[in-house]
Every structure is written in C-alpha cells, then in structure tokens.
C-alpha cells in the first residue's frame, strides 16, 4: 500500500474577523497558496476534493454545493465531511490507501464572525429533551468537566492557567495566530470566572481563517516535492453523547483515537518518540486532559509538567508551539487543520522563529468542542 504524504499547505488568517473576504474568497486564497506550494493545477491534477464543514456553522443547508468554484473543483469529484478537518484527513488518508486515488485536496475553514448567535448554535447541539430546557450558556459543560478533572487529579487552577500563559506567548511568534499575548499567571487567575472553575482567559475565542492541504500518494508526492510530510497514522473515536453517563476526567475518546493512530504509526512511547505535539486546547484544562489521554504523560501529571516548563517551546516535549487555539483563535471545524498546519511547518523546518530544532515526528490532535466527545489524532513525520 502506498504511503500518504502532505505535499502542499495554504492558510489565510487566522484573524478575529476577516470582513473583507466572503467565505468563498477566503477559501480561494488559501487554495491558491496550497496549490502553488504543491505545484499542482487543481483543474487537472486532483482526484478528489474534501471540504470539512457543518451546515449549522455556515448558515447554509447542504454547504458542499457552495464549495466547488473557489477550490477549482467545478465538475470534478467533491464531497463534504461534516466534521473537523482531521476527520477529513482520515478520509483522504483512506482514499489514497485504497490505491484508487493519487491526489486529494482537503479544506476546512472558519467564518465564525458570520455567525451572530454562535452560542445558540452550540446550545443547539445539546439534547433537546434532557439538557436544552435547562437553559444557560452551553460552556457550563466545560466548567463541570474541568471541576471533576481537577478534583480527580489534584491538578491546580494555577497549572491550568499556565497553559493559557504558555500558548498565548507561543502565538506571538506565529503569523497565523490571532490572539498572541504576553500575559501573566495572575492575569489569567484574576480574570472573570465564567463557568466555575473555568476563567475567561482560559477559553479560546473564535477566529476567521481557512486551511487547504494537498495530499498525495507516494509516487505522485515524490515527483512533486522533496519536502513531503508523511501521515504515519490516523485514529478517531467518539464516546457516548450522553452528558449524564460519560467519563468526565479522562477523555477516553482521545485515548482510543491515539491508540488507533499510534498502532498504525508504530509509536510505543509517545513522550520519547514524538518531538512535539499540537493538542486541542479549546479550554486551557483540555490541553492537560488531552496530553494525558494521548499518553504524553501519566494521568494527573500534565499540570505538573506544564508548571515545570517541560511543554514550553524550548522544553523537553513542546506542546502547542503554534500557540494552540488559545493563541491562534478557535477555527471551528478548521481547528484540527490549525494543528496539522503547525505540524507540517515544523516538520518542514518552516516554522520561523518558533521552529523546534531537528523535529522529525509530530502529533496533531482535535476535539470537536462542546458538547461532543469526539477526538481525532494524527502522527506525522518528515521521514518516510
């Protein structure tokens, strides 16, 4: 079976708001960059186009119908994955592995600024009989999860706040990041408590942007470029949708997604074998929870490692050198692609001032946000 490579990337944003571009124009600009990077003509060289989008976030029914023009996919072969961009990566990976398709384009974007009632859309994902009638802001789900996690693991509020400090600082070096800032631990801890124990500055803010990538089979990749980044393994998993019965401490969905990807990528000791990780940090505590589920450390240890600086950009295992979602902004269904973009740039040695020296193997992880329990993990390397 052919190996699968990422041969081109393009990104526009992320910015708090991109009012000058329609979502179509935003996608066009990112696509042009990706095709230029890969050295392909989308009108001739692409077998399948995949767009990752959720109708309710777009404000359109059947959003795929609005996509072909701006990707160069008119009268070609396109479909939507209604989920995070990393689920699109998993789909592209499988398509190429079948041997039937050589070149696949993957797109995900966020035009969060077009959504006037974002939290009402999030709330609409809650169970209509059991949960929605209670009212309130749906992020209370995150507050409950953080509370149980801190209680079970003795992780401290300071350790969670440190994640926000680290990620926003990393973002200052990332031109694709919307919310880089030099903030102190005290500023995070003294920010408003919005969903006890979750603080305002520990919550990612939505941002506009788009990421397009070109994937190719081994044969095609080697003809196109000498800077292929290889997808070594992909995994995904969904826990029960019932808030009433799920595990609140261990993000089992991420653990199983990671095990699936690690098995394929032959990773046995993630902490030793990975050079860095891009982990979902929609809320600061989520980075810690996900690190543990990804086996980057023992259960309950992530806070301590973060406090000691081991996950800083110059630490032993950098986590979210991009600035994460706290620093880049929450790119909705593109949030997995934000992670993947950083992994590709780091592994190519194109991460500029935030470059991790000699990075060879990286991990991208996504979670679909409140109220889901879906995780996706991908392991990538610059060595075939």
């Amino acid at each position: 079976m052919s190996e699968v490579a990422i041969v081109g990337v393009g990104c526009v944003g992320f910015r708090p708001i991109l009012p000058e571009l329609s979502y179509k124009e935003l996608m066009f600009e990112a696509a042009v960059k990706a095709y230029e990077d890969a050295g392909i003509n989308p009108r001739k060289d692409v077998d399948v186009f995949i767009t990752c989008a959720e109708d309710y976030l777009e404000g359109f029914s059947i959003f795929d119908e609005f996509v072909p023009d701006q990707l160069g996919a008119v009268l070609r072969h396109l479909f939507t994955v209604s989920g995070d961009g990393l689920l699109g990566l998993a789909t592209a990976y499988m398509l190429i592995k079948t041997g039937q398709f050589d070149t696949v384009v993957l797109e995900a974007h966020s035009k969060a600024s077009d959504i006037l009632t974002f939290m009402d859309i999030v709330a609409f994902a809650l169970d209509p009989i059991l949960n929605r009638p209670l009212g309130g802001h749906p992020y209370y789900v995150a507050g409950m999860e953080m509370n149980r996690y801190l209680h079970d693991t003795c992780t401290t509020m300071e350790q969670c706040a440190q994640v926000a400090v680290k990620n926003k600082k990393n973002a200052l070096e990332n031109p694709y990041a919307a919310y880089g800032a030099n903030i102190t631990l005290d500023q995070v801890l003294c920010s408003d408590t919005w969903f006890y124990p979750l603080k305002k500055l520990e919550i990612s803010t939505p941002a506009d942007g788009c990421v397009v990538m070109v994937l190719a089979s081994e044969n095609v990749a080697e003809k196109l470029t000498d800077k292929s980044i290889w997808v070594k393994g992909v995994g995904w998993c969904t826990e029960t949708p019932n808030l009433e019965t799920r595990d609140w401490s261990k993000t089992v969905y991420t653990r199983l997604a990671a095990e699936m990807a690690y098995k394929k990528a032959r990773i046995h000791s993630p902490w030793k074998e990975l050079d860095f990780a891009e982990v979902n940090d929609l809320f600061a505590y989520k980075e810690l929870q996900h690190m543990e589920a990804l086996k980057l450390c023992e259960y309950g240890e992530a806070g301590k490692l973060t406090e000691e600086g081991l996950t800083a950009r110059n630490g032993e295992l950098p986590v979210n050198p991009s600035g994460g979602l706290l620093g880049m902004g929450y790119g909705l269904e593109a949030s997995g692609m934000q992670k993947l973009l950083e992994v590709v740039l780091q592994l190519r040695g194109e991460a500029g001032r935030r470059q991790i020296p000699d990075a060879e193997v990286g991990l991208a992880h996504a979670w679909r946000g409140i109220p889901t329990a879906t995780g996706i993990t991908a392991v990538l390397s610059n060595v075939k």
């Binding site: 329609s22 124009e25 023009d69 701006q70 600024s113 077009d114 009632t117 009402d120 209509p128």
Partner: protein, 173 residues
C-alpha cells in the same frame, strides 16, 4: 394496515392531544442568525445595483464576462482581471410559473421566475429574477426582457433593487 393486523393496541394520537397538553412535548426554536460578509465581488455587485447598473468580472484567459461577478474564474482557477458593466437587458433562458408560496398555499397571482442571460455577458451568464407586466401564457424562450428598477431613493443595494424584468419589443434592424 397490513392484512394480518386488524387492530393496533393503544389509542391513536390526535393533534388535540398535543395542543391541549395531554401528552408531554418539548418545543425549541433555534436562534440561528448569520450575517455573511459579502466579500469583494458581491459588495461591488450590490453597490452597482444601487446605482442602477449590473457589473461583471472578466477573465483574460478564457475571455468570459462573468455575472454574477466573482474574484476568481472557476474554470481557469485564476483571479479575474477586471470589471465591466453588462446591460440590464437579456434573453429568457428558462422560466417557471410558480402557483404556490413557500408554505405551499395557493398564490392569488402566480410568480414567474426566469433565468435571464444578460446582453454583454458570456453565454449562459446572467441573473435570476421575476418577470412582470406579462401574462404567464405569453412567456417564451428567447424572449427579450429589460429590468424595471426601483426609484433610486428606494434602492438599498440588493437584488430586489430590480423589481422585475418586463418584455421589450425587439427593434427591427
């Protein structure tokens, strides 16, 4: 009902049972509001409608004049090269007479909706709009029609700044 089953156990639910609260129900109306950024192409298009004009973009490679305008040529996959006005006169490409409203109630006056290929634009490029000042029976393929604009002070930069298209008699050469 299948032949074997003559009677289902239980009571058939009537709409009054729901309306009068005899069975539990949960109502939820989603608050889903959006305000799409029009972007470069649509912003200019809407601005020009306000001026009583229809604008297109051009592609130097395939030579098409494209309306509604876009900032990329979807066939050549390259940015467009310029702007040009097209006429507010066109030809009926296809049409339908709609006798129903969106909620499927009967309309007193049917709406005639047409695809109008605009003069000055490339083939099969134009606008979708309503037809007016014409009997549904009189509409013909290839018929020439012209935009009827709202007065300038009533235009807001929307597709409805054109009230409808009405037939014009073709000038004899």
């Amino acid at each position: 009902m299948s032949e074997k089953i003559k009677h289902y156990s239980g009571e058939a639910l009537k709409s009054a049972d729901i309306e009068e609260g005899r069975v539990p129900t949960e109502k939820c109306r989603p608050k889903a509001k959006f305000a799409w950024s029009a972007g470069m192409a649509m912003s200019r298009f809407l601005e020009e409608l306000k001026n009583g004009k229809i604008i297109a973009t051009t592609c130097n490679k395939c030579k098409r004049i494209m309306v509604p305008p876009r900032i990329y040529c979807e066939n050549c996959f390259k940015p467009t090269d310029g702007w040009t006005y097209v006429k507010d006169i066109g030809t009926i490409n296809t049409y339908s007479v709609s006798y129903l409203a969106a909620d499927a109630t009967r309309l007193k006056e049917p709406i005639i909706v047409a695809i109008i290929d605009l003069d000055g634009a490339s083939e099969s490029m134009g606008i979708i709009h309503k037809l007016g000042e014409i009997d549904p029976k009189e509409v013909k393929f290839g018929m020439k029609v012209k935009a009827v604009w709202k007065p300038p002070e009533e235009r807001v930069g929307a597709i409805t700044d054109i009230k409808y298209f009405k037939p014009i008699k073709e000038e004899k050469p």
